[in-house]
Every structure is written in structure tokens, then in C-alpha cells.
Amino acid sequence: MNDRFDVKELSRTIGDLRANAERLLKAGGEMEAIKRNVTKILANIRMLELNISDVADITNS
């Protein structure tokens, strides 16, 4: 069932999302409307990391 998805690829895409969100925060974080909304976006990205990225490097031993 886990073969339906390429977990490592999903994890890379989530990493790109985080990088983009952090870039936006750095560029516009002095504006409250950007800072607060990106903070919420980052919290959601964290949930994707907990759901996907955390397991990407866990291999069968």
C-alpha cells in the first residue's frame, strides 16, 4: 500500500514548501499580515513533515 506514493519525493516537495515559506517570511516578515499568515502556513507545513518527511529516512533494517 505504501508503494502508492514516493515518500522521499513527497518529502522533498514539502522541503521546498518550507523553503518558500521561510523565504517569504524573511522578505516580508516585518509586515504583520505576512508574518502571521506565514506562521500559520509553517505550522501546517510542520504537520506535513510529521506525516511524511519524518518517515522518509526511516528504512527497513
Partner: protein
Amino acid sequence: MNNNDIYWNHILETLPYERLRQLQLKKFRRIVDWAYNNSPFYKKLYRDSGFEPGDLKKFEDIQKIPKTDKGMLRDVQKRPPFPYGDILSVPIEDVTTFRQTSGTTGTPVYQADTWQDWEWWSECWSYILYAQGYRDTDRVFIPFGYNIFVAFWAGHYAAEKIGCEVVPGGVLNTEARILKMQELKCTAFMATPTYVLALAETATKMGIDPIKDLFIRRITCAGEPGASIPATKKRIEDAWGCKVYDHIGATEIGAWSYECTSQPGGLHVNDVFFLVEIEDIETGKIVDEPGKNGKMIITAFDRLGKPCIRFDSKDVIRWADYTCECGRTFRMIDGGVIGRADDITKVKGVLLAPTAIEEVVRSFPELGDEYEVVVSKAGDVDDILLKIEMSSWHAEKKDLILARLQDQLRLKTNLGYRIEVRPLGSLPRYQVKAHRFKDLRKKEGSH
């Protein structure tokens, strides 16, 4: 959305055991490292015991790490930053949500959550609700006055996250809630088992049959162990004509366990968000074998504002000796929370768990939903008074029913009871935490 998929996250929920253990160790190390470097409380706790995060090399090392308990969480609140104390692991400005425990066992514990922590709460509950069949076609009613307690806030947001339409029934009274559920054709609701029964009772009094006149397909219970007590679960399912699911969570921990639609008699532990250990109450050794009761030591891997690491919850649980046909590899606890280590008390020299009384009382259809147990001292001897409700319809069979009840109570608890029969509806009704077990011996002894 793929509504045929029974998993919220099939990758994690079906992860093979070995990989699950690897993931747990990785996440345990991460939260310990975080707490050590960001919380003065945890740094001192670990340093005083001679532990450094680098000592955590293999799974078995986890048992060497000091535990925390509610008393410690209360004490730390006396220190800055107000009102949480130096267990706080983020700047106070990052805290966006305040909750507190009910204070049933003493001073309430204050809980700080960041926005990310709060998203995590919803995520935990999304696992629960999805496993219990909630989908974007559900209209979910929450008959509860949301407040400073955590109850049902996360259930609300998780239901939204799943795509359900959520109807908050907070300030309405019981009758108005029933009418609103009927008017909106709500398909699911969440409440304490006590209140689920009270809703059915009130609906019936209003001339509304919960099965025929309402549209409820599933109910999620929280706050009390009732939905895992077979007699109570049956009583609720009979009253509502639908499936009733249990879940377990706590303010200072998170929502860590849940029943799925397969309902094999136990609850799944969310092993990817929590590490549950069971400790033998007498020896303190970790229990891995099924069927042996012990108290739960729990870690929330991903809650950062106020980390919960190796927390002695005092909940008594046991591992199940069966797996679930749903295919989840998450471990199972048999029968939910069996009791609390500080609730299980000696009466007449016998260990008594209040849930055992509930199991017996609720298995008698002739008795009302409510009951109350009062333990006191009559001279030097313990006395147990059990107050029950019985309809006048059963007056002719009263003696027979009481004799059967005494037999079953003795069989299940090894104790004799004085029984007081009250009219239906005369005992207190509770919406949140029921206080049915009253041990007056402690108060008497304190004078």
C-alpha cells in the same frame, strides 16, 4: 477526498513495527533534545539525574530518563514566566492558546500551546475522527460549552480539517441542542458518555425518539471511560441506534488513543505522535506483555511549547493480546483506560476500581443511567453505599433485581454493598466529568 480510504495517513498507520520503533526513537531523541535546550525545568531535571541527551542511544535507554508528574507541573507554575513556569520551551510571545486541566485532583495545571501545537492537536484528532468514519459528508454537532478546558476544541477543528460541517452547540440547553440536531439533520456528535445518555433521556421525555427522529450515525465520546465499558457502550448504542466510539486524551498530553470502526474491544495508541509505556504499579518495571495492568507513562513527541516527556499519567491500562482487522499497526490497549492509579482504592481490604461498579450497574436494563457510590467509615469498618435509580414499573420485581445486583457486584468486585433505590432522574446529571465515586474516609480521617 478518497472516502474509501480508511486511513488518515496510510503510510504511518500501517508502518511495520521495526520502522515504527525507529521512528519513535528518532522522535523521542528530538523532543528530549528540544526540551533540554529550551526548558530550564527539563534541563535541571535531567542534569540532576546525571542524564544528557547524548546518552540516549538505544530504545531501552528511554527508561533511564526521569519521569514527570502532575505535582511537578503544578510546582513549576510557581516560577516565572507567569503563568506556566520555566517548563515553557518557547518565548511567552509564541504562546497562542491557554487551556487548563479540570482540577479534579488538585490545583489546575495550565497548558501553553503555540499555534503549531494547536495545529498538532487538530492533527491528532484528525487521526481519531477519520478512523471513526467521519468524512466531509458529515454534519457534526458539538453539544458542549467550550471554555478554558481542552474538551472538544480540538475535535471541532479536526472535524473542520477533515471537511465536516461543524455546528457548535455551546450555549444551548439540552432541549435546544436536541431540537437543533433534529432541525439540521446532524449525522454525528461528540460528548461525554454521561451526557450522551442524558441527551437520549431528555429527547425521549420531549417525545423525540433518538433513533427514529434524529439522524445520528456515529458518536465520539471523551472525558470518561464509559464508551470503553461494554455495558455503558451497549446502553448508549441501544439508545441512539448507532456506533459509539471512545477516544482518550488529556490536556497536558494530547489525544493519544482511539477506537476505529472495527472495534475489536480495544483502542489504538497513536504510536507516531506518542510513546506509551506501561509501568508495573508495584515494581516500577516496564510491562510489555499483554493483559497485565500498569500505569501509563507517556511522551508527546511533537508538542513544543510545553513538552510532555515521560509523564506519569496515573491512568491504568494494559496491552491487548490481539491486533485489529483494520490493518493499523499501532499497538492496542485492551478496554481503554481501566481506572486511575489514584482512584483504585482499598475498601474493606479489597482493591476496588470504580469502573467495575459501573460495568455491573449499567448491565442491568431495569436500572437508570445514573448511580453514585459513597464509601465511608462506620466505626472501624468501611461501608459502601450504592445509590441507583429504578423505575416504578419494576417495583414488583425490585427485591429480585436487587438480589441479582448484589450477586453481580460481589462477583465482579468481591465486596458487599448497601443499596439505596431512588426514583428515575433523581441522581445528579453531569455534562463534563462525572463525580460518582465519593470516598468520605479521607475527609473523615483528616479531622
